[in-house]
Each structure stands twice: as structure tokens, then as C-alpha cells.
Symmetry: none
Subunit: 101 residues, 4 copies
């Protein structure tokens, strides 16, 4: 009597479907994470310094992130300089900011 069809059915199958899709994707994700681990192990096997390798990966990731970050901050500052647009000093600051890009 606990699995009666009817109103509840659609909800149940909907939930089941979502849960299955998510669990499937998480399996794939885990599988790839394991692959990454294997690559590090292999690198270690040929004598590479794993920590240094991780540093390289991290640096390259950060470089991209930093680039985006710097641009975002610059945009924010340019916008914040709008506060000053009606003062002489502000005009100079805006010029400088524009040049610095």
C-alpha cells in the first residue's frame, strides 16, 4: 500500500529521475578525478616532483583567474571613479585610470 499509483506517482518518478541523473553525473565526475590522480602517480613514477607539478597547475589556473579578477577590479574602480566625475581631481584620476589600462 505504500507505492500506490496516482497523484504521488508523478512526483516519485520525477524525483527518482533527477536523483539518478545526478548520481550518474557524480560517478563520471569521480571517475575523472581518479584519472587525474593516476596522472600524478604516473608523473611521480617517471621521477617528476609532484608538488612542483601541482604548483605549476595551480599557478596557471591562478594566472587566468587573476587576469579576470584584475579586470573586474579595474572595472569596479572605473565605476567608483564616477563618484568623482564632478571634481577636478576626479577628472585627473579618471585620466590616469584610463591610461593605466
Amino acid at each position: 500500500m505504500s507505492d500506490q499509483p496516482g497523484v504521488g506517482h508523478n512526483l516519485a518518478s520525477q524525483i527518482k529521475s533527477f536523483v539518478e541523473r545526478i548520481e550518474r553525473l557524480e560517478e563520471e565526475k569521480k571517475s575523472i578525478a581518479d584519472d587525474i590522480k593516476d596522472v600524478y602517480v604516473e608523473a611521480k613514477g617517471v621521477g617528476l616532483d609532484v608538488k612542483a607539478l601541482r604548483d605549476v597547475i595551480r599557478l596557471r589556473k591562478q594566472d587566468a583567474a587573476d587576469r579576470a579578477e584584475r579586470q573586474a577590479i579595474l572595472d569596479t574602480y572605473l565605476h567608483a571613479l564616477g563618484m568623482l566625475a564632478d571634481t577636478p581631481l576626479g577628472q585627473a584620476a579618471i585620466k590616469r585610470a584610463g591610461a593605466a589600462t
Copy 2:
């Protein structure tokens, strides 16, 4: 010529003041966070299960009403997946789910 007083000066000192206040407060916050960590370490040192301790803290944070509400939804979903049939709470949830839909 970039540090002359005037309009810019007030703005700069204002910003500086806010930054200092915030950084001071964040130091205090971090200090307390460290204290909390220390307490968990100490608890572990006397043989307590840290993960369970965290669970307790988390549970107490949810007030009773929220907890009941959230549990009801969770039970409904678990029932949809047929995962709930063998617990007393589950039986109740199954009833609720049937009625609520």
C-alpha cells in the same frame, strides 16, 4: 602632486579608515574561529567524535519548526525512492506524503 590635500584627501582618509576598521574586525573574527577549532581539537583529544559533535551543533542551529518542515520534505523524497519503508519515522512520512500530494 598626488597627495595634495583637498577633495581627494578626505576621500582617501575616509577609505583608509573604513579599511582599517574592517581589517581589525576580521582579525578578531579569525581569532575566534581559531578558538573554535581549538575546542574541537580538545574534544577530539578526550576521545569525542568530532564529526558527530559538528552534527549536534548543526542540528541545534535549526530551530524546531524548520527541522520538522525540512524533515517532512526529506521523508517525502526518500519515500518516493522507496528508501524509507523500514523506519518508524518513515512510516509516518509515507502517510504524510500520501495525504499531502
Copy 3:
């Protein structure tokens, strides 16, 4: 003079190769993580409670043994705090706690 072939070359190309493999895999992983997010968004779109859905996924991840073990400890702690007296599970936990200590 820094790019002459020889000992250094093999090392460099080896490192490069590993870095590329890892970065490729990390891209795939991120892509799947994004897919998972999308599924949650879609679930929300049809009116499901995302937080509850996450709870379900988390529960199913713990295998039965772990779950029972962890629940037993949690119950013991809650009992110690007098928070468990009014649930059936709580009653059982109280018994266990008395016996286990």
C-alpha cells in the same frame, strides 16, 4: 641559450605533456560539475526543493553501515544533551547509550 635541446628538452616536454593532460581532465571535470548544477536548476524549475534533493543525494552516498554507525553516535550525543527523548529512534538511542558507556 635556454632552449637548446638535450637533457633539458626531454624533461621540459615531459612536464608539458603531463600539465596538458591534467588540465584537459580538469576541464572535463569542471564541465560535469556544471552539468550537475544545471540539473539542480532544472529540478528547482519544476518545483522541487533543491536542499531536500541534496540531502537525499548525501544520504544515499553514505552506505548503510556508515549511516547506522554515525547515527548511533549522534543519537548518543543528542541524548547526552536531553534532545532526543521524544522520538522512537531517540528511545532506542538512549538504551544504546546507557549500555555502551
Copy 4:
């Protein structure tokens, strides 16, 4: 019968004590977090750009972290160069690394 003294008592009072200490500290932490929020609100009130202010705070935090990070990576690389210590090219690389510090 659920709060009998004896073996269980020490455990219960121990847990209770830890929970209370943690909850007390978390209250303090939350209080400070609220203070920080208030400062941002106040800054906004005098016309400052809150996003830019957050950027400043974040940048200053990162600068400190980056400094430490760079040093750590440099150390790793110097160590990794040990791999090369027995080749002529390696010797040159070690020299360069030492000079670059």
C-alpha cells in the same frame, strides 16, 4: 530513567560542556560578522562604493597570501632542481635560481 547518573554522566556533561563552549564562541563570531556588515553599510551611507571597498580588502589579504605562496613555490622549485644536480644544465639552473631570489 533517561538521565540516570553513573558511567553515562561524565560523557553527557563532557559533551554538554563542549557544545556550550562552541555555541558561545559561534555567537561571538556571528556578532563580529554583523559588526563588519554594519561597517560596510555605514561606508555605503557616506557614498562609498561597497564593491570596490571589498575589492581593496580582498586584495590586501591576497597580497599577504601571495607573498607566502610565492616563497613556498620557490622552495619547491629549488628542491625540484635537486633532480638535476648531477647534470651540467642542472648546475646552471641551480645557479640561476639562486641568483633570482
